[in-house]
Amino acid sequence: MNNSTTNEPVLVLNGITKTYPGVRALSDVSVSAAPGRVHAILGENGAGKSTLVGIAAGSVVPDSGTIGLAGETFTRVQPRVARERGLAIVYQIPALAPSLTVLDAVLLLLPDSKRPRRSGAAAWLTAHFASLGLVIDPAATVESLSLREAHLIEIAAALASDPQVLVLDEPTEALGPEETRWLFERIAELLEKNVAIVYITHRIPEVVEIAHELTVLRDGHVVGSGEVADFTADQIVELIVGRSLETTFPDKFVAPAEKPGYVLEVSDASGAKFFDVSLSVVPGQIIGLAGVEGNGQRDFMRALAGKGLVSGEVSVGGTSVRLRSHASATRAGIAFLPGDRMGEAMFGKMSVRENVVAPSLNSVMPGGLANRTREYTLTQQAIAGLAVKTPTLETPVSSLSGGSQQKVLLARSRLGDPKVLLVEDPTQGVDAGARVEIYAFLRAMANTGVAVVVLSTDAVELEGLCDQVLVFSRGKVQAVLDGNDVTERSITGTAVLSTGHSASTVSAVGAKRKRAFTFWGESQAVVLAGLTVVLAIASTVVSSAFMSPLNVSQLLAASATLILVGLAQLLVVMTGGIDLSIGSVVALSGVIISFFGSSGGMFALGVLLALLAGAFVGLINGLLVTKLSIPPVIATLVTSIAVVGTAQVLRPYPGGSATKEIMTGIGTTIAGIPVVLLLAIAVSIAMSIIIKRTGLGRGLRAAGSDPIKANRMGVSVPSMRLFATVAAGVLAALAGFVLYSKTGIGDANTGQALTLTSVTAIVIAGASIFGGSGSAIAVAVAGLLLQTITNSLSFLGLSLSWQYWLQGAFVIFAAVVPMVVRFRRSRAARK
């Protein structure tokens, strides 16, 4: 390969330190990458590799240290800046916002100079994929892709950005051997072009194969670095683990002469993602589950933990067990410790005591009443010998180190006296010292007769800890390794080889992929338009006056207001917020305009002032949310009340009608269609184009879809949120103007109901209420439908209360239906 050792490094991380609550993720780490060379960074899970990557890419801000990129030195970089300066990154878990299409995602990832024009972009991307040997539909949404496909797309985007530095974080984790080969060929090409490569991994053979230099991290410290050629594979392993394997792991199980009964027996278990898995554990045994991520091992463990089986038998201690829920599994004596400690296992803000006794409340509080003394006694018993580093038992568990947190969980499961202990990634994010204690604890649990089942992504750990390992591939047990066969080499070897048989090609993406965003958004508009027509016809049948020109014109003009407030709400919800001040802004805008009705010039000034006031309220909302981290609901509720108060002070009683000329002017129609409706339609179309086809729209959708991933993609989430709230304020003020054009008076008490209507409009328009997607066109049609409903009520002889009931029922119905459909689909997929 290339020998350009004399070249200046393009990426220099110097003296980087980063602390998270309770953990020092990195301390004084320095790494550099030179052009034309591969620098491998090695370490166990939680050694600090990914944090280091995040700092280089700008998604994590270091406490101290500097980042040198392409000759310039920063104390912190923004993800966008890092990308513009030639750093491309492929994350371990692809950082692609789920609601975007593949094309949107790739366009967002590219630096400005490399981005093709939007009109030819789809063809360009298809060609780019083809040149790499990939067949992926650019219109598919990211959420419909598999992890593997998402990975390949991120790699393809990184290659398209023509980088100076390419950072690959565990790139082969989700790939099969052929794809790995494919990736290594691409890396060789990049090295030819003098690109610097940072390669994060814990797979030693890969390092030996492609890397020139290496740096080994352990517990956030650099414990070794140099030329790869100077190390043997065994030396690297020892650097990573920090001690010889013999002193790390406890002694293994020795089978007794007479065969005891099984503690846990699983036969022919099948679920959604695993098939015909059998397993039996005798007292004293520790069983390991292994495999490449996503091959069913995790699903199998979760099924045992209570998610349940589709078919098969489970018996604990000789008694058959029916698993329907976590509660039934717990009753059967199965304890489960998930790998995502903060997310699924701990009660972060609660104390060590409360965490330890949480699953055992029945025995801790036998009469149903709390007894602090008893809780302390039991907690102290449970953590005895585990060296949990905590000041007091009342300390919130989230402030402990990863190792101590895991020990609290182990103590908690010991207190529950389980028959079966299922542990997922037991040493994820745990420092080397605590690992030894955790291994010893698990072995001690096994020795007391508990069936211990461990799932781990770390083959070295499985080799050291387990008596038997089941290697999963495509949902089946590919191999059962026993005794001396339990080695790191055979575990990874079986896992990787077996995956190779199944995923033979890179081009696995079918063309029948659901085009979720574009198709769904507009089909919703069509459905709503159909409903509007049906309702209009029904009302006309009951009373022909519904179709009178006067009523139709009124209906259309009034729907313009609803369309505008709906669009305002859509922008905010799309970025993951909600705006409850919309109705108040409408009222304020109308009140302001009502003071300027004396002449045409003054009126224009009034409208301008109203729009500025709307923008101002939006700015306040946005700043409260982004700068002071106030939840959007509360921020906008407070401003809503202040704004409506201001409107009431300005105009305690309705009034302020404009001159007749002005009213006629803003009330004109073109071919029977009110000008204000044309305005609303124009705004809808403009917004639709912005959302779907511009970088701003991609940023807005990404920010709402997944803020963390959006940030990694280089989107400034706070500016997107701020933009959305300000634009929403302006649109709401515009709606106030439209409302004024209809009523001709300023009234501080109108408009409050429009907040509800704006939410109704976006929900029935099929926009995701969790953010990330939505169609402006569908919202416009929804506005028309809602006004048609309101208008037709009187013709159908229904009271005002129906307006509220229908809106409430619509929201619930429209929100529940997609959930039910998704639920059905996932159930159908299971069978």
């Binding site: 920090g242 949480a358 149903g368």
Partner: protein
């Protein structure tokens, strides 16, 4: 290259202390800041407006503090479960309307009317809870919708006109118990009972665990959905109770009577130190928050009789209070961390 391999630290460790020192326990109690705020407000009030702290002033303020507190307790439950209930204004109004409409009907009678008002209204809360818990919809959207359903019911039942409350109810609502307004006594009893259940029973502990992390709670076998649903259900019932009492207090409750309780109910929870992200909450803190807000209203009212201005001033002060509490919450956490590090080498 360096290969530092320390021996495993198997040194016997001293067991951690059960709890920290008394000052740190008091300081970390979420209600402390709300209590201090109330004390400061009452200390400052006579300096700004002497009339706002006289015996009659306090007596006339307490019933409103009580109503805010009752609604806010329900809001605390929902916020503890990581939600937010925007349907409480509808529930207050519907409760008030039902008791005044049915209570004045001699065929039904007041006691039955009260039961119908509270139980009937709470069904809407139950509906919110079921939709949130079973379908995983955002609480905001769901409660906006159920609020619309309740307002629709208010419109349908009232026909646009509010009714007159039963004289017995009015007499009860303005009566005093050993000189203390009976509403305040009711609120106090509710706060104490609920706080005791939450802090000293297994049921209460499970409720807090579910609020702190529903996924963790589910994995250890706690029936998460039941707790979430009951939070919304209780919130609806408590708001309806406040509505019933409000109907007594006002005699002719308006059809928008509940609207004034939404922001205060949330503000009282935040000021009381319950995190908006859910989890552990302090009902006593919420009650202090309600007291603070009622006294604040009283204070503002001595300066202006314009409701609009009162609203603006209140929104501003509540906004500042929320910001201060949220920001201070973070700072206090950091301070506490520093304190602990220093006291435990």
């Amino acid at each position: 290259m360096s290969t530092a391999s320390a021996a495993p630290e198997a040194a016997p460790r001293v067991a951690p202390a059960n709890r920290g020192s008394l000052p740190s326990v008091i300081f970390s109690w979420p209600g402390t800041r709300a209590f201090i705020a109330v004390v400061v407000l009452f200390a400052v009030s006579p300096l700004i407006a002497p009339a706002s702290v006289g015996g009659t002033a306090v007596i006339s303020m307490l019933p409103f503090a009580a109503l805010i507190a009752i609604v806010a307790i329900g809001q605390t439950f929902v916020i503890q479960q990581g939600g937010l209930d925007l349907s409480l204004p509808g529930a207050v109004t519907l409760g008030a309307l039902l008791v005044s409409t049915l209570g004045s009907d001699p065929n039904i009678g007041l006691p039955v009317a009260i039961v119908i008002a509270i139980v009937g209204t709470s069904l809407f809360g139950l509906l919110s809870g079921i939709i949130v818990a079973l379908f995983g919809l955002p609480p905001l959207v769901v409660t906006i919708a159920t609020n619309a359903l309740m307002i629709g019911a208010v419109q349908a039942i009232s026909g646009g006109f509010s009714g007159q409350s039963d004289p017995d109810l009015s007499a009860f609502a303005i009566s005093k118990f050993f000189g203390i307004p009976v509403l305040a006594v009711i609120a106090l009893v509710i706060v104490l009972v609920v706080q005791a259940v939450l802090k000293f029973t297994r049921l209460g502990r499970r409720f807090e665990l579910v609020g702190e992390n529903p996924r963790s709670a589910e994995i250890i076998g706690i029936p998460v959905r039941r707790f979430v649903i009951s939070a919304y259900w209780l919130a609806g019932a408590l708001a309806a109770t406040a509505g019933v009492l409000l109907a007594g207090l006002l005699r002719t409750p308006t059809l928008t009577a509940g609207d004034n309780y939404l922001l205060p109910s949330i503000a009282a929870v935040v000021l009381g130190g319950t995190a908006l992200t859910g989890g552990r909450g302090s009902l006593v803190g919420t009650a202090f928050g309600a007291l603070f807000l009622a006294q604040l209203t009283q204070l503002v009212q001595t300066f202006t009789t314009l409701t609009a201005v009162q609203n603006i001033v209140q929104a501003l002060i509540i906004g500042v209070g929320i910001v201060a509490q949220l920001q201070l919450g973070g700072t206090a956490g950091r301070l506490k961390g520093l304190f602990r590090k220093r006291s435990n080498p």
